[in-house]
Symmetry: C2
Subunit: 216 residues, 2 copies
C-alpha cells in the first residue's frame, strides 16, 4: 500500500496542511506552536477558534518547567501521553493521583468523582506545579476551590476537560480565577488535547536548550 | 461552587442530553451503546454521523472478548484508558508494543513509525485479538498489510486513527479489507474514541454477566 511511513515527514506534512488552512490570528508565536500541535493531534481546524490563553500563560508554564515542576494530570491517559524523553530532559515529573489507594476510598466515602479526590491528594502532596485537566470538569472545579482556600497554588492550569455536564462552566470559573490558564472554551477538550499542550511546552524548552526531541 | 459531584449522576445526565439531541438512526441497540459512549467521551454530537460498523462487528468483538482475547493498542494512551476492572472481569489483556525495546530500534532502522513497528511485533506475538488503533494511520495500514499476508488475523479492528496524513485513507482500506470493523470516517478519531469503544464492549460483557462496573 502507498502511504507516508516516516514520522518526521508525517508531522511536517501535517503542519503544512494546518498552516495552509488556519490563520495564526490572535496567537503569538509560542501560543501558535501550541494551537498548531493541538490541531495536529485532533485533526480538527475548529480548535483554533476555541483555544484561549491568559497573558503570560505560556511563560508561566515554561518558567515552572525550568524549575523542574510536577505536572499533575487528572487521568492516566494524559499521564501516558506525555513525552517521557522531553519530560526527563526538562527535569519535570508527571503525577497522576487517581490510582492512589486513598483516592478511591475517599471518592466512595464522599460520593465524589475519583478525579476530585485525586486533586485533593495533589494538594496534600504539595502546592505548585502545572495542572493538566483533560477529562473531568469536577477535577477543575475542585482545583479552583482548593486554590481559593490557598491550599494549592498552580503555576499554570491547562483547563481542557470535556463533557456535557460542567465542562464549559468549569472553564469559565478557571478564567475568572486569576490563575494563569490555557483553555478550550465550551464542552470540547480531552486527554489528547491536554497532552498536545504539555508536549508543545516541553518541546519549546528542548528547542531553547538546543536539543531536538520528538515523539515517534 | 455549584456542580454535580456524583460520577454516576454525571454519566446519567450526559446520556440523557445525548439521547435528547441525537437520533439512534441506523444503529442497532448495541451499536448505539457504543456510539453514545463515544459522544459522551468527546462531547461532540457529530460523531454519530461519522461512525460505522461492519455487519456483526459488535458480535465479533464480544465473541473474542468472551474467549479472553488480547486487545492490541497502538499507543500507551489507549492502553491507559481501558477500564482495568472490566478488562480483568472479561479475562482479557491489553497489549501495547510501542515501548518494547526492539520496536524503537526497528522503527529507526526502517525509518518507519514506532506504531508500525509495534504492529509488526504484535504479529510476531500471535495472530488474533481485537486491534484498537486510536492514533496512527500507519499502524492501521501496516495491520492491513500483515493481514493480507496472512501473518495476523484480527477478530475485530477498531479503526479510529486521527490526522491529516493518511487517516481517512487507512479507514477506507480497512472497510475494503473484509475484516470486521468499527470506524470513524475521515480524519477524526483518537485515543479517547478508541478507549470509549473498547470500554463500551467490555461493559456490555459485564452486563451480560449480571455485574455492574463503571469507571469513576
Amino acid at each position: 500500500m502507498e502511504y507516508v511511513r516516516d514520522p518526521l515527514e508525517i508531522e511536517k506534512k501535517s503542519f503544512e496542511i494546518i498552516e495552509g488552512h488556519v490563520d495564526r490570528g490572535k496567537f503569538d508565536e509560542k501560543e501558535w506552536a501550541i494551537v498548531r500541535r493541538v490541531i495536529h493531534s485532533v485533526a480538527d481546524f475548529e480548535y483554533a477558534g476555541i483555544m484561549d490563553f491568559s497573558e503570560e500563560a505560556v511563560e508561566a508554564g515554561l518558567a515552572a518547567m525550568r524549575r523542574g515542576c510536577r505536572i499533575v494530570t487528572d487521568t492516566r491517559m494524559v499521564e501516558a501521553g506525555i513525552n517521557r524523553k522531553a519530560l526527563e530532559a526538562a527535569g519535570c515529573v508527571v503525577k497522576c493521583y487517581v490510582d492512589y489507594p486513598d483516592v478511591a476510598a475517599k471518592s466512595r466515602e464522599l460520593s465524589i468523582t475519583r478525579a476530585m479526590a485525586s486533586i485533593m491528594a495533589a494538594a496534600q502532596d504539595g502546592g505548585g506545579g502545572i495542572f493538566a485537566i483533560g477529562n473531568a470538569p469536577t477535577a477543575l472545579f475542585k482545583l479552583l476551590e482548593l486554590a481559593e482556600e490557598g491550599r494549592i497554588k498552580p503555576d499554570l492550569v491547562i483547563g481542557v476537560p470535556v463533557g456535557f455536564v460542567g465542562a464549559a462552566e468549569s472553564k469559565e470559573a478557571l478564567v475568572a480565577s486569576g490563575i494563569p490558564y490555557i483553555v478550550a472554551w465550551g464542552r470540547r477538550g480531552g486527554s489528547t488535547m491536554a497532552v498536545a499542550i504539555v508536549n508543545a511546552l516541553l518541546y519549546m524548552l528542548k528547542d531553547e536548550n538546543g536539543k531536538i526531541c520528538r515523539k515517534g
